[in-house]
């Protein structure tokens, strides 16, 4: 049986195929942005062909597909989501767009607020009110809902979000509005805040709900089409979608909770990074993933990626848990351009897959990072994408030359300048997650991924003085690999407010049981038997009177016996986080949380025997590559022939299909016993 990880990026769609938990195969096809499902199917056909099977025969043997998609992310960033209407409580029309009055850069008056997800004219208010005890104060005036529907129909909205005050205590009004909407607008995608995020705080809940509505219809359409096409071709296995929280979920849940896929693409990166860094006993890593369009960075400390519940995407708040990944617009396709001040700039605009860099010869006219790397001799025009895409070097030369003329530079200096600028942008990105959050990047190993990552890895490491670089052999499909290593994961929350000591244990048990029941049912629907489910429960606690809470894990299921240990754990955690605790003061419950993991089968790293230090059996040629101001004759090795122990001293180039590793002078690369590449600076001792 096969398991496949599929990561649809802005430029390439990556596949990692694993056969019977062992052999890995890497595939890559060009993304088809107008309908990403087409690229996915094309990839399936290609894999079947290589295995000498018909597509149907192959797909029948696929047990699991884990899929990461950037469809929702892109729609949000490019503001091309669904036309969305919003219904909220009368008197609170602008809570979503006022963004709690915050202007992030206070000393810069020259900025505009982010464009609203829902414009004011599509935000409708209805007369109704639930109070802070969950009691109805004003019944729902349904007339207002029908008025909203009239407007939404006239304006042809595709999606409607509903978020009412205190609906997390009493969802009856929201549910009734949902019913009316479903009856009267059956084709419209409907999101209720009480389903997406039943949690206190209006703006954060509104924003999460509106985002779900904004991206939901697109994702729903895409997933339906993908599933239909795969099924038509013979697929009978499980299709799972990667979520922002680092876990996976079923198709049905993904369609309903689209907001949880906003980081679907990169969220499996940390899991993959830890997997490959494990043999080097390193739980402190920074993963960088550079594809055609973007550069994703994530810092992992003590084996755990940071998770945030105060996430943002394109200036919109998301309060559901997500892996804390920083993204900048720097990739192989990033376009080099000259700004109004005559300065050379690179990105964030990307030539994407189509037309792509000039050297693709697919009609691209804007010089890109990939064109520059080709001119500097880092890429082999005959071996790009495994030779499936012959690069047109002469076109790249012309394009870069033309750009250089405007700057008064020759083409090599221009290409070198483009790389220097993109390097600075990437180094800033790494600083953002490390230095700016108080971590010294030198204490982390750099795990490098993505088609374009290994070209720049030693240069980035050099700028930041990072001593250890790990390039997995599957680095070009890193996130796809991570997806196959991820478990199904669902987060649940219930707001429960009572002082510890006056709490109602039966009620607490009931709420946990509700969540557990929901979790087991969901995981069952996703094909996970009960013995494969791991449940973690926690509670958000605070001192009575505080406004914020601390999440404390609740160990052991005998809740009655451990409730006082929970208080101790809270005091302790409060002290370590905030420098003090007040053991004499009363503590109260705010939220009860439950996370359920559906543990899936995973592959392991295979070990290979030691060969020798000599890499020459893998030598495939020599070419001129540009380092520190001049072209040097640089040996080129076939990565797939490099074996455990082989040592390449920079300058050197290691090539694999879809991956080119540049080893700068002053660095050395060796192949470890798992066939992954380890790069160190020559001055590094350790």
């Amino acid at each position: 049986m096969f398991r496949i990880g599929i990561d649809v990026g802005g430029t390439f769609t990556d596949f990692l195929l694993i056969e019977n938990g062992g052999d890995n195969r890497v595939y890559k096809v060009i993304t088809t942005p107008e309908n990403p499902a087409r690229g996915v199917l094309y990839g399936m056909k290609m894999m079947a062909q290589e295995l000498g099977m018909s597509t149907g025969e192959f797909l029948q043997n696929v047990s699991t597909i884990v899929h990461g998609t950037t469809i929702t992310t892109n729609a949000t960033l490019t503001q091309e989501g669904a036309k969305t209407g919003f219904i909220t409580t009368k008197g609170f029309r602008d809570c979503l767009n006022m963004r709690r009055g915050l202007r992030e850069k206070k000393y810069n008056p020259k900025q505009s607020p982010p464009l609203p997800l829902v414009p004011r004219y599509l935000t409708m208010v209805v007369e109704e009110r639930i109070d802070c005890d969950g009691q109805e104060v004003i019944p729902l005036h349904e007339q207002g809902v029908y008025e909203a529907i009239d407007l939404f129909k006239k304006e042809q909205v595709e999606s409607v979000a509903v978020s009412l005050l205190f609906s997390f205590f009493n969802a009856s009004h929201e549910e009734r509005i949902g019913e009316i909407l479903r009856t009267n607008m059956p084709d419209v995608y409907i999101t209720l805040s009480s389903e997406v995020l039943p949690q206190v705080r209006v703006y954060e809940r509104n924003s999460t709900t509106a985002l779900n509505a904004y991206v939901g219809p697109l994702l729903d359409r895409y997933l339906k089409e993908l599933h239909t096409s795969l099924t038509r071709e013979g697929f009978k296995g499980t299709l799972l979608i990667m979520q922002s929280n680092g876990g996976t979920m079923s198709l049905e849940l993904a369609s309903k909770f689209a907001v949880n896929t906003l980081l679907s693409g990169p969220a499996s990166g940390p899991t993959a990074g830890l997997f490959y860094a494990e043999p080097h006993n390193n739980g402190n890593i920074i993963t960088i993933d550079m594809g055609g369009t973007s550069f994703d960075v994530c810092l992992i400390k003590d084996h755990a990626a940071a998770v945030t519940m105060e996430g943002q995407i394109g200036n919109y708040s998301i309060a559901t848990p997500m892996i804390d990944i920083h993204t900048i617009g720097a990739g192989g396709g990033s376009i080099a351009w000259i700004d109004s001040g005559g300065m050379l700039r690179v990105g964030p605009k990307s030539a994407g897959a189509l037309p792509g860099p000039i050297c693709y010869g697919l009609g691209g006219v804007d010089p890109t990072v990939t064109d520059a790397t080709l001119i500097l001799g880092y890429l082999d025009p005959e071996f790009f994408h495994g030779g499936k895409l012959k690069l047109k070097a002469e076109l790249a030369h012309q394009g870069i030359e033309k750009l250089g003329e405007k700057l008064g530079l020759d083409k090599v200096s221009t290409a070198d300048g483009i790389l220097k600028i993109v390097l600075m942008n990437m180094a800033d990105g790494v600083m953002e997650v490390s230095v700016k959050r108080g971590y010294d990047p030198r204490e982390f190993a750099l795990v490098v991924a993505g088609g374009a990552g290994p070209i720049h890895a030693t240069a980035i490491a050099k700028v930041l003085d990072i001593p250890l670089i790990i390039v997995p052999r599957e680095s070009s499909v890193f996130c796809a690999a991570g997806m196959l290593l991820s478990d199904l994961k669902h987060d649940y929350v219930r707001t429960y407010n009572a002082p510890l000591g006056e709490h109602d244990l039966a009620k607490i048990k009931e709420l946990y049981q509700q969540m557990q029941y929901e979790a087991l049912l969901t995981l069952k629907s996703e094909g996970i038997p009960q013995e494969r489910v791991s449940i973690f429960i926690s509670a958000d606690l605070r001192y009575i009177g505080q406004f914020n809470d601390v999440e404390v894990p609740w160990k052991g299921f005998n809740l009655g016996d451990t409730v006082y240990l929970l208080a101790d754990a809270f005091h302790h955690r409060h002290e370590s986080l905030y420098g003090y605790s007040m053991p004499g003061s009363s503590v109260e419950f705010i939220n009860l949380r439950l996370t359920a993991l559906g543990v899936t089968d995973k592959h392991t790293l295979s070990k290979y025997p030691y060969s020798s230090g000599d890499p020459s059996p893998a030598l495939k040629g020599v070419r001129a590559a540009y380092f520190e101001g001049k072209f040097l004759e640089t040996p080129v090795y076939n990565g797939l022939k490099l074996q455990y122990g082989n040592l390449v001293t920079g300058p050197g180039i290691v090539e694999q299909i879809n991956t080119t590793i540049i080893v700068s002078p002053g660095y050395r690369l060796y192949c470890d016993e798992y066939n992954n590449y380890i790069i160190q600076s020559e001055s590094f001792k350790g």
């Binding site: 008197g91 009055g101 202007r103 505009s112 607020p113 600083m431």
Partner: protein
């Protein structure tokens, strides 16, 4: 002494580390406080200093606190000079000891490494009560700083690691909400410890001399960047003045701040000595606050984000005259200095400097009329106190190329005050919020208009005490539009009683809230920048679509004709109408 060359990577790492750390210290305060002022509105600031008391980094959630920490720490260090020991923690709130106002309590901890004082960490926050008869520290009848509230000269909360119980008791027992003041002092102590732990980690890794060498580099670099920017200002002497409603005792008589600003090369001197004499109410600004506003006003013109360490403050000089409202003689009351006074000094400086750097000039934010309430909440069975920051929902001013932002707050907040969450407020206070949304027609018009104002309506479910503080009810106090832009109308908060009768609320007065009373205010939007007749007709149309402006308003104010049938701009009619209006205005001027 180290002869090592400063490592640029290490300098960048440390600079960011310190900035991350002050943010972490502030985060500890926000996340653990029991007062909505810290936790929801973030009326706090935190800072790190070196042994020479130079500001290393600060997190100034409220910009008005931006330049005040260096003064507070100097006063503490001088007051206890020779008697500062490991484990000491200091507290200080004296406005005549260069603090802002008494509700802002500073808690500072010297950081020792191997027995030597190497750094300081300080936190400042606006406490929920500071004694006196005011609500949350605000007493419009106050005439002296003793009326304002408890005065704490620098004192020790901890003496060499031991809690100094008598000081804690003395402070907390002289406030009306002792348990909350104690909890928030605890929260500040904890935040200082978070800062100390972080700094000690840094010191353990790199030695103090290396760190200090990097700090010199960081501060010199900031100063240079700042001076380069001031170099972009046109040299000259500039004047600006602004008044607020009155001094309370003499109702209707404006109090004026006058700024004379000299820009020469890379130095700026702000002379406020011609301002009105000090007044017999809490409407004065102590020197510490005045200095902080002056620096903050200059930051407005700095074209974006500026680092705010010791280096940034070096090019700015302030001149005041003792006995004026911006530098009063002891014991004048000063509680309103961080709000009303800050807005007024700020606008005077903005109006003066607008001609020195017109392209970065900004019209002022709407002025704040602040609602405060306190009492007992029968629902939670606990006392509550509320500075209702929803009433800070003012719009910001327009600037060249950009409209002001809605709900960005008054000038002293600059979009940093996080507007309270209505659900959280109802869970804590005896309130039902009926409206918190935007309302058009209360912004200053202009080519780039002021930010849209917020409309607020809240009902009380218990009898409580309230006070209305601030300004902006008098026509001379509203922000002035610049380069042809308009001003918003004055504010007029009111109370609607159960029987339907309506009582206007006078600014700077106490009033009693009866159960069922509704407080209502449409806040003031920001002032406009540039001639409304030059506003992009499509932007005018968007305001009409968003229901901030009527079709009649578009025609009368902006000279934009919108066809009610198609909902589109009539380009020809608009061009003609605008020309007509421009000619009429020119005739009128002659």
């Amino acid at each position: 002494m180290t002869t090592q060359k400063v490592d640029p990577i290490l300098t960048a790492v440390l600079d960011s580390r310190f900035n991350a750390l002050v943010e972490q210290v502030a985060g500890a305060m926000v996340r653990t406080s029991m007062s909505p002022i810290f936790a929801e509105a973030r009326d706090i600031s935190t800072g790190l200093f070196d042994a020479k008391l130079r500001l290393i980094a600060q997190k100034d959630y409220l910009p008005i606190l931006a330049a005040n920490l260096p003064l507070a720490i100097q006063v503490i260090a001088e007051y206890w000079n020779g008697d500062i020991h490991e484990g000491d923690i200091f507290v200080h709130n004296d406005a005549y000891g260069k603090n802002s106002h008494q509700p802002d309590i500073n808690v500072a901890k010297p950081i020792f490494h191997r027995g030597k004082l190497v750094f300081w960490v300080i936190t400042k926050g606006h406490h929920i009560d500071i004694g006196g008869k005011g609500l949350c520290g605000y007493d419009p009848t106050a005439q002296t700083c003793w009326d304002d509230g408890l005065i704490i000269k620098p004192s020790k909360l901890y003496v060499e690691g031991k809690r100094n119980k008598s000081v804690w008791d003395l402070i907390t027992q002289n406030t009306k909400l002792p348990f909350m003041v104690e909890a928030d002092l605890n929260c500040q102590v904890g935040a200082c410890i978070v800062g100390e732990r972080g700094m000690l980690e840094v010191v353990e890794k790199y030695d103090v001399d290396t760190i200090n060498a990097c700090l010199d580099e960081i501060m010199n670099h900031t100063e240079q960047g700042f001076r380069d920017m001031i170099g972009e200002f046109k040299d000259g002497v500039y004047y600006g003045e602004k008044a607020f409603d009155d001094d309370i005792v003499n109702r209707g008589k404006p109090v004026t701040v006058r700024a004379k600003i000299t820009v020469k090369g890379s130095d700026i001197t702000i002379d406020l000595s011609e301002s009105d004499p000090q007044v017999p109410s809490y409407m004065n600004s102590g020197w510490g606050n005045t200095y902080s506003v002056a620096a903050m006003a200059v930051f407005y013109f700095m074209a974006g984000d500026v680092k705010r360490n010791d280096g940034a403050l070096r090019p700015i000089k302030l001149i005041t005259k003792k006995g004026t409202c911006v530098d009063p003689e002891f014991p004048a009351a000063v509680t309103m200095c961080t709000c009303t006074f800050t807005e007024t000094i700020l606008e005077a400086v903005l109006l003066a400097l607008k001609d020195a750097r017109p392209e970065w000039s900004t019209a002022a934010h709407g002025k704040m009329s602040l609602h405060i309430a306190a009492g007992f909440n029968p629902r939670t069975n606990r006392p509550f106190a509320l500075i209702d920051f929803v009433t800070c929902g003012n719009g910001s001013g327009g600037t060249d190329g950009y409209d002001g932002w809605p709900q960005a707050g008054p000038g002293h907040c600059m979009g940093q005050l996080r507007s309270p969450d209505p659900e959280v407020m109802e869970l804590c206070s005896p309130q039902t919020v009926w409206r918190n949304e935007l309302i058009g027609g209360r912004e200053g018009y202009g080519k780039y208009r002021g930010g849209i104002a917020t409309s607020y309506k809240v009902e009380y479910t218990a009898n409580v005490a309230a006070v209305e503080c601030g300004q902006g009810h008098a026509p001379w106090a509203v922000p002035t539009g610049i380069f042809g832009g308009g001003s918003p109308p004055p504010s007029s908060p009111r109370v609607i009683h159960k029987d339907g009768t309506v009582t206007p609320i006078q600014i700077n007065t106490f009033w009693d809230v009866k159960e069922g009373d509704i407080y209502e205010q449409d806040m003031q939007g920001g002032a406009g920048w540039g001639d409304p007749l030059e506003r992009d007709p499509q932007h005018v149309l968007k305001d009409v679509d968003d229901e901030f402006l009527t079709i009649d308003g578009a025609r009368d104010i902006y000279g934009v004709v919108i066809d009610p049938e198609t909902g589109k701009v009539d380009e020809v009619a608009t061009k003609n109408l605008r020309q007509e209006k421009a000619e009429a205005a020119a005739t009128k001027e002659q």
